[in-house]
């Protein structure tokens, strides 16, 4: 299988995970073996000590020490005498992240190598690979599994492409055939995951790093990278970049060099760590090296390696409002404070952008939401909003004063199109009498202005609200509403 279009890959210095990808779009099994010779199988203790020696961390965002995770699974399996499942999380619900999809699409055998190493060491009964449903990466991985004749052992499961699908609990739920939503209780997956078995759950890049690590050995692996954070990381550089790409870089390289490589203007700031991450000021972005510690020192976070420079042309606050609304929509709806609190925060932030709200109101709403959900979605969203308010303080002040900063919102921060929904709710203003029924029927999409006339969200009607929108059209006393479908 040769995919038609693939994410661009670039590297700072010698590539490891992305070796060989400068020549071909996808490494099939033969080509993969040319670049990465087959590794000897290791027992658990060796793998743990290898991972410990280079302090390999999970690459999904939480940066949990991989050695400890591996050790916990092995211990539980021994004490319970239970079978083990290895799960590769490649769902990548973050719309701004492309590294895991890139790995599955372009070098799937490296991820498989890593998963096989872990599965061999743990004597696992099954490998499950969670991927975004319907994405080309799914076909690429299926083809790779077929190529190696692993169809009996490796299961590729497509999960719905939503933001909270990337949460570990969601993946376990999803591959077990339940709704892919975060778990309310159930403890750690290393104790009880898929089918209640001890489960090694980690991100796709982590397994690829594990494969590279066993190939190079601890000393070879630590030849690159900053002290304490050996090796390379995959960064997804997007935003204002002229040449967006997945960049493999040793840790310790200046972020500015990576941004230069992708032709990106920093402008008002750089979002690191994705939509649960934080903003870097232009000053910090110019000097900070790429590593967990250095980024944390300037108030940033490496997370899953998402780097989104904003550039100077788009309105920063407007971009933040767009993302916050998207995040609010992505709540799985299980926990009340998240389901109700996040839309509140989004509305209040929009009020700030319009110059009618206050920063204090947003902060209060954040306080009421933070830490009150089963997963990190409310916390991460709160972090994003607070960081935007701090980093763009000048822009916020200007918005509060003038109601605008004079810049349009270009949509520099990517948001997936809502399942193809292009349907918009339109008002025939000559007919509208300001009855206001639409604002009560379609609360999430319509507000009333000071005169009692509807203010309709400047976005297509989400699929989840279609039935309500239809009802609003039918119930408008003045027959002033209609749904417009461009198709």
């Amino acid at each position: 299988m040769i995919p038609y279009r693939v994410p661009d890959v670039r590297s700072v210095g010698e590539p490891r995970l992305t070796a060989g990808l400068d020549r071909v779009r996808r490494l099939d099994y033969a080509a993969h073996r040319d670049v990465h010779p087959e590794a000897a199988s290791h027992d658990v203790e060796t793998l743990i000590s290898l991972a410990e020696a280079v302090d390999l961390r999970g690459r999904g965002g939480a940066a949990f020490p991989f050695a400890r995770k591996l050790g916990a699974v092995a211990r539980t399996a021994r004490s319970k005498k239970a079978e083990v499942v290895v799960v590769v999380n490649a769902t990548e619900g973050e719309p701004a992240s492309a590294k895991d999809k890139m790995l599955l699409l372009r070098t799937p055998h490296l991820v498989l190598d890593g998963a096989m190493l872990a599965a061999d060491a743990l004597d696992a009964v099954e490998i499950v690979i969670g991927v975004a449903e319907g994405h080309v990466a799914e076909q690429s991985m299926l083809a790779a599994v077929e190529e190696r004749g692993l169809g009996e052992y490796v299961r590729v499961v497509g999960l719905p492409e939503k933001f909270v699908t990337g949460e570990g609990g969601s993946v376990v739920n999803g591959v077990s055939g339940r709704d892919a939503v975060p778990r309310g209780r159930g403890g750690r997956t290393s104790d009880s995951g898929v089918r209640g078995l001890p489960t090694l759950l980690s991100n796709a890049e982590t397994y690829a790093q594990l494969a590279v690590l066993t190939g190079l050995g601890a000393t070879g692996y630590a030849e690159l990278g900053a002290p304490g954070e050996a090796g390379t990381v995959l960064l997804t550089v997007g935003g204002s970049s002229m040449r967006p790409a997945v960049v493999e870089t040793p840790t310790g390289v200046p972020l500015a060099a990576v941004l230069d490589l992708c032709g990106a203007a920093v402008g008002d700031g750089v979002l690191v760590g994705g939509y649960h991450g934080r903003w870097l000021t232009p000053v910090d972005a110019a000097s900070v090296p790429v590593s967990r510690k250095s980024l944390a020192d300037v108030g940033g976070v490496l997370g899953a390696g998402i780097v989104l420079p904003l550039g100077g042309e788009s309105c920063p606050l407007g971009e933040a409002v767009r993302v916050t609304s998207y995040l609010a929509e992505q709540s799985s709806g299980q926990c009340g404070p998240c389901r109700l609190g996040l839309p509140d925060i989004a509305h209040l932030l929009k009020d700030v952008a319009d110059g009618s709200g206050t920063v204090e109101a947003v902060r209060w709403a954040v306080v009421g939401t933070r830490g009150r959900g089963a997963c990190s979605h409310p916390d991460g969203t709160s972090r994003f909003v607070l960081s935007a308010l701090d980093t763009f303080a000048d822009d916020v002040a200007e918005h509060l004063r003038e109601g605008t900063c004079g810049r349009p919102v270009y949509g520099i921060l990517p948001i997936p199109a809502d399942e193809g929904s292009q349907v918009r709710l339109l008002v025939d203003w000559t007919r509208c009498q300001g009855h206001g029924l639409c604002s009560k029927i379609l609360t999430d999409h319509v507000n009333l202005d000071a005169h009692g006339y509807p203010v309709i969200a400047d976005s297509p009607v989400p699929t989840s609200l279609r039935a309500q929108a239809q009802r609003a059209v039918e119930m408008c006393p003045a027959l002033a509403l209609r749904l417009d479908d461009p198709k």
Partner: protein, 237 residues
């Protein structure tokens, strides 16, 4: 699940009615009751519907939530009223008081004047029901005002149906006449409320006059676009 229960219940009741003596008696008395009252219920239900329909746009007394509720109840009573109307017509055809044609086509099959009026009213109500069900389609169309024109024909059906009710069947009891009067008054009051409200809305809809004085323009509009020095990268042309 629900449909299963309904089907099972219906079958059981049909079996009881067909096989047992008391079942047959129960069916006969139910039928007699509906024969006697379903026309009256239809009129009451549809009168309520008209009042609710008028009231749904009443803004001075009712909040938005109340208006949404009244619109829902308007739909519910309309469906109930039309259900009774269909029952009424079917039973009258079955008892041979009017032919199938005469029940739908006014004055066909030698039905009398007042029965014919009933057919006219029924036809119009059917049209009104259809427009109500297709409201969304009208809103979506290029001529949404068509809906109001068609739906308002309910006001035409209504006096016609009252004449039908008073003179086509048995001589009405005093309380029935009184309830007709009450229905007339109810709709009359509701309608005048609505007309008063809409005419008031037109009065206030005059474009407000803005006094422009010489002193007004203090701040230049260009302030909205004021540029800051730290954003040279921004395209300003």
């Amino acid at each position: 699940m629900v449909s299963l229960v309904v089907v099972a219940g219906t079958v059981t009741m049909a079996m009881l009615a067909l096989t047992t003596g008391w079942g047959a008696a129960a069916v006969a008395s139910a039928r007699g009751f509906l024969d006697f009252y379903s026309g009256v219920f239809a009129l009451l239900g549809l009168t309520g519907t008209v009042i609710l329909g008028v009231v749904t746009t009443e803004r001075t007394l009712l909040s938005i939530d109340h208006r949404i509720l009244s619109q829902r109840v308007h739909r519910a009573t309309a469906l109930a009223g039309m259900g009774f109307l269909v029952t009424h017509v079917a039973l009258k055809i079955d008892s041979g008081l009017v032919g199938a044609a005469g029940a739908i086509i006014p004055f066909a099959g030698g039905a009398g004047l007042f029965v014919g009026l009933g057919a006219i009213a029924g036809d119009i109500m059917l049209l009104v029901l259809l427009t109500g069900l297709l409201r969304g389609k009208f809103a979506q169309s290029a001529r949404p005002w068509m809906w109001r024109a068609l739906h308002d024909s309910a006001y035409l059906a209504w006096p016609v149906s009252i004449l039908h009710g008073l003179f086509s069947g048995r001589p009405p009891a005093t309380w029935v006449v009184w309830s007709y009067v009450l229905a007339l008054v109810g709709v009359g009051v509701a309608l005048s409320f609505r007309l008063a409200a809409t005419s008031k809305a037109r009065e206030t809809a005059v474009t407000p006059k803005v006094e422009v004085t010489e002193k007004a323009a203090a701040e230049p509009l260009a302030r909205v676009y004021n540029l800051r020095s730290n954003t040279e990268t921004r395209r300003t042309g």
